[in-house]
Symmetry: D2
Subunit: 378 residues, 4 copies
Amino acid sequence: MLRYLTAGESHGQALVGILEGLPAGMPVNREGIDEDLARRQQGYGRGGRMAIEQDRIHVLSGLRGGVTLASPLAFTIENRDYQNWQQGMDPFDGDVTYRQVVHPRPGHADLPGALKYGFDDMRPILERSSARETAARVAVGSIARQMLQPFGIEAACHVISIGSVAIQHQPLTFESLTGAENSPVRCIDESAATKMMAVIDQAKAQGDSLGGVVEVRVKGLPVGLGSHVQWDRKLDARLAYALMSIQAVKGVEIGDGFEAARRPGSQVHDEIYHDKDRGIHRKTNHAGGIEGGMSNGEELVVRCGVKPIPTLMQPLQTIDMRTKEPFEAVKERSDTCAVPAAAVVAELVTLFVVAQAFLETFGRDSFKEMKRCWKPSR
Amino acid sequence: MLRYLTAGESHGQALVGILEGLPAGMPVNREGIDEDLARRQQGYGRGGRMAIEQDRIHVLSGLRGGVTLASPLAFTIENRDYQNWQQGMDPFDGDVTYRQVVHPRPGHADLPGALKYGFDDMRPILERSSARETAARVAVGSIARQMLQPFGIEAACHVISIGSVAIQHQPLTFESLTGAENSPVRCIDESAATKMMAVIDQAKAQGDSLGGVVEVRVKGLPVGLGSHVQWDRKLDARLAYALMSIQAVKGVEIGDGFEAARRPGSQVHDEIYHDKDRGIHRKTNHAGGIEGGMSNGEELVVRCGVKPIPTLMQPLQTIDMRTKEPFEAVKERSDTCAVPAAAVVAELVTLFVVAQAFLETFGRDSFKEMKRCWKPSR
Amino acid sequence: MLRYLTAGESHGQALVGILEGLPAGMPVNREGIDEDLARRQQGYGRGGRMAIEQDRIHVLSGLRGGVTLASPLAFTIENRDYQNWQQGMDPFDGDVTYRQVVHPRPGHADLPGALKYGFDDMRPILERSSARETAARVAVGSIARQMLQPFGIEAACHVISIGSVAIQHQPLTFESLTGAENSPVRCIDESAATKMMAVIDQAKAQGDSLGGVVEVRVKGLPVGLGSHVQWDRKLDARLAYALMSIQAVKGVEIGDGFEAARRPGSQVHDEIYHDKDRGIHRKTNHAGGIEGGMSNGEELVVRCGVKPIPTLMQPLQTIDMRTKEPFEAVKERSDTCAVPAAAVVAELVTLFVVAQAFLETFGRDSFKEMKRCWKPSR
Amino acid sequence: MLRYLTAGESHGQALVGILEGLPAGMPVNREGIDEDLARRQQGYGRGGRMAIEQDRIHVLSGLRGGVTLASPLAFTIENRDYQNWQQGMDPFDGDVTYRQVVHPRPGHADLPGALKYGFDDMRPILERSSARETAARVAVGSIARQMLQPFGIEAACHVISIGSVAIQHQPLTFESLTGAENSPVRCIDESAATKMMAVIDQAKAQGDSLGGVVEVRVKGLPVGLGSHVQWDRKLDARLAYALMSIQAVKGVEIGDGFEAARRPGSQVHDEIYHDKDRGIHRKTNHAGGIEGGMSNGEELVVRCGVKPIPTLMQPLQTIDMRTKEPFEAVKERSDTCAVPAAAVVAELVTLFVVAQAFLETFGRDSFKEMKRCWKPSR
């Protein structure tokens, strides 16, 4: 069983993760992880914080000479900004009256978190609910990627829309997604990308923010990850669980998703073929690679709807938690659009779920044994 | 911790469930459960099987005189059709060559299941992957409903669209959903309902099938169910997990969902107000009742995109699993549209997740103690 | 992941179990399960209930023609006594004032259960805490046995002591345990067995009860079940978890157990040898087959200390839960000694834990694939 | 749900832990944790490593100004020895040929770990299986202690025997255990303590090692922690799980434990009394505070049998993992007796289990709410 926990506040010392259940003897490459951490930090429309933090993984355990020991892999990702915040955030000596937040920001965890946990000051809530936490999940997913690569499993992500601007055509091949890596908005359609940057500029000028839709694809999945036998084992369900847990995600689709709900069955189900070269295969992929809660050998396709960042320069109405008097929510320098980053997070979160399901079906105690037994059905 | 497992094949003796973790001393009403089971079986567009099965819960343990004992509640829901199938489905004496399925049906679990589990005959897969299993989950959710009702929590569902026909206006109030109960397509908009039935008739005539979009709303949720502190505790993530696990669901949204990805932040985040009568509240509910992975005191709003039933009268291309030769997928009398049933399943599945999160925050060993401690924050 | 839940009250309709996670295509034999159920019901010193119940498994799902389908295996074991109890135990119509128990019996769950769950009547507690529940766990373990057998893994149990009477010598070989099957007290030492029956007779005459020590051995375990990497993955810990959960067990030992605490290290650790025929092996087995939380290839040896049955004919002091006045605990016809049954339960509980750990390391979706990959290290 | 993961190798940079699920607003005191870490490092019979490591907790998240934020509490405990080991243990740049261990040490995880995970060098196994890992569990348990203290729950531990030397009389009161804190062998019986130190000296002189029996008691437990309803919820089972997972523990007992198996029922079950001052209570505590898998309001009493340290100066026979030739296991400076430390570990491990069960029954999101609802039954 592959499992992990993350910890860490946005302005605390570090994000921390413990990932356990990797097979022994598996190579892990630091640069690969740092690259994914960097991918998360890029994107047109980010604010000042990104300049401060240049995330690097620091591994504390579980590896030796770049190879897994089977023991839990613990890591930290330092928050460089902590030096400016220690006064208020030190675990034992922090001044809890430092930079209190008493006006809950609409769209954030602030209000429900404060009421749930009994705080007047919402600092304790927002420090943990912040999307900065996703850096730890990116690291986890990046290690999952390194586990899957030798078995021919690759993932990519791209941005389908930002605000009202969307790409013209869905990408036809996995390979065509590589272009997204060089786009400031992680968009494979250059003309749409230009318009996306324009609406981001416009939103910024108005003190507003923008969301969008991101897509993740995974290629090379063997048949049979997940299971139909109990609701909590289904691969699509587990993907939805993980993807909906990403900050700001309000919708998750597999394959044609909501569009499949609009078309007749004759246009939705992927007919089954066989030939010598490709074995069993499909000519269409409306299902997005999952039928009956299991991978079916086709490309995995998932999409997330990401809401706009809730912190606006243009003030929203809120209250003071102590007096209950009306107030304007804090205006803060912030990102205008984090959709390209959300795409990267979705990709890595997807990879973790895939790796977990992969180990359930093809796992062994050592990487060598995994390879010996490896026999995907097709 | 509230947990459950279900078991049972579609043409086996019975569906079986064990639900564990209910507080002691809580009344459970059989009629309420049977009503929800009946709600699942209704709906315009269902085929012949629904006439055979009239689901009734049979409780084997966990209750005495209609009150919970704290011990696990086990139940069965008989499959009346089993008498016609015992020859092939008997656990020990069944003839495994009886009614084999060797042509995997596109859109079903058949192909990935058979390859994963090593069967040539897909009967073992489809018996469990069948949506008949949802009857057991409806029973579980119906008991959850009875636990939540005394705390003022109520749920309802309705159908937003079938195929290309959608309701004109989103319902404004929870109360307006009650109309759906009397609609053959579980639709609150009479004119849309008429058109929905027409497209179902048309699809049936063409041997085709239709999906749609369903919505569930939950009223009376206290603030603070779920948590922002770890990805797997978030209420929206857990709802997506459970809802995406429903057979045929390919998309899940919370609140405005994918639509929120298209609008600027200033139109998406729900401003916060306070007055004496209502306490802290919102005037809008784009978030669908969840911020930061926690219920925020507003109505919970979730939607599922349901794909068309994969079993068509109009044949789809497939192969023979033994010879790999091309073949036409089995034509079977089947439902044309199961969207109204999916709405009911989604409602009950949602209620289970809510009940589980509710117990985490407000649970006690006995129902009496739960009421003594009950103090929702607002 | 192999998992199960059980349900059922002692005088309810049936015990119920759902076991999920077995590989597909695995043969399951009904007679084998019924034999283990019968083994649990035997033993010198049992009372009248055993004559009423002759446990038989009734499988509701998960099998077809005696072969696993991968889907959850649900079963019931009927309580024949229910016909005498339905008036008081019917889930919906039972009379909750029927045969109330208001004097908590020392040594039972009665008192803590009633206070925890808010009952004055302890009937709801004792119905579930009763050792009758172990019949369901025996069924689960018996299926686990059938999964392990083809891989050469076998288990046996025997009684080491009853009250103050113990066997003279620890059995030297696994094979020597087979004799226990024919002993009324499941004891391999005939002279000790005779004395055990005598002390049981004596205890019965005095209205008293007796406990004892039971041992389970498992032969043929491959190296490497369990893991040292996290506390909750250790095989010895998981065995202790499962064994201590058996009703009346108050102590659990692995290998030399507490005796190892008394001897110097030079007499406790099992030296390591290698030769062509046996590969890596030991000449002693003080560790009981587990080092560092993992099976080491030697025989697994676990022991449980079982306390005497708490229900005595010789009354114990207690109180009335409503008035708090002193009272004598109910005298009931009951077993005098259930140690031989406890041995069987311990054996089957052990087999479940072993099967779960076995699947983690050597599991595959189908039994056929499991055999293909099977390559134990030695 | 209170949960944690630990990570860290014995000669790696640090032990790491993430503890999640503490209520918000709870004070945590650093000195208290460091004291428990120091208690673990004391004890007559420890070797040189203890002089190198002076464990201190370093909290990275989850606290601010000494108060819990509800977010996960992450911490490290530095391995000072790492500076001497970085060359061989660096996660990415470590030389994996550095200080290889190719002769598996009997009694350690070395052999099964190497075979399971596919290593010839046993360094990767022993680094994680080392009892140094218990420092992280002590930190976790120490935080649990701080959560329980305000509810009147206190724990203590003491050493009952070392090798063949045992205390004369079981301690009668919880208070009498405090004396153990000042004993070099954590023994409350001064005369036995003197003899224990003598046998440790003797064992050391002979290059041998000693185990022993330790006891933990917890005072002030409310009735009803744990549950009888399912095997995995029983408090005694969960304690056995956690305690048996401690390195070197081979036996676990609750209350009279194995001794209860030898006595008749009339001498084992604790009669129930009531008076105005003490409410419901017992005059004896053979059950060790647990009946039916639940705390019964009496003192919790658990004991562990700890085997002697496997690393001896007096060589044990083993093999070379590459050549399979016979070899003598490494002689290393090591502890002669770690029983007093094991007592401390057992105490803290017990406290974690108690805290987890306590939160299940009496937990709330905030410490303040926990206190508002707190109403133990008696």
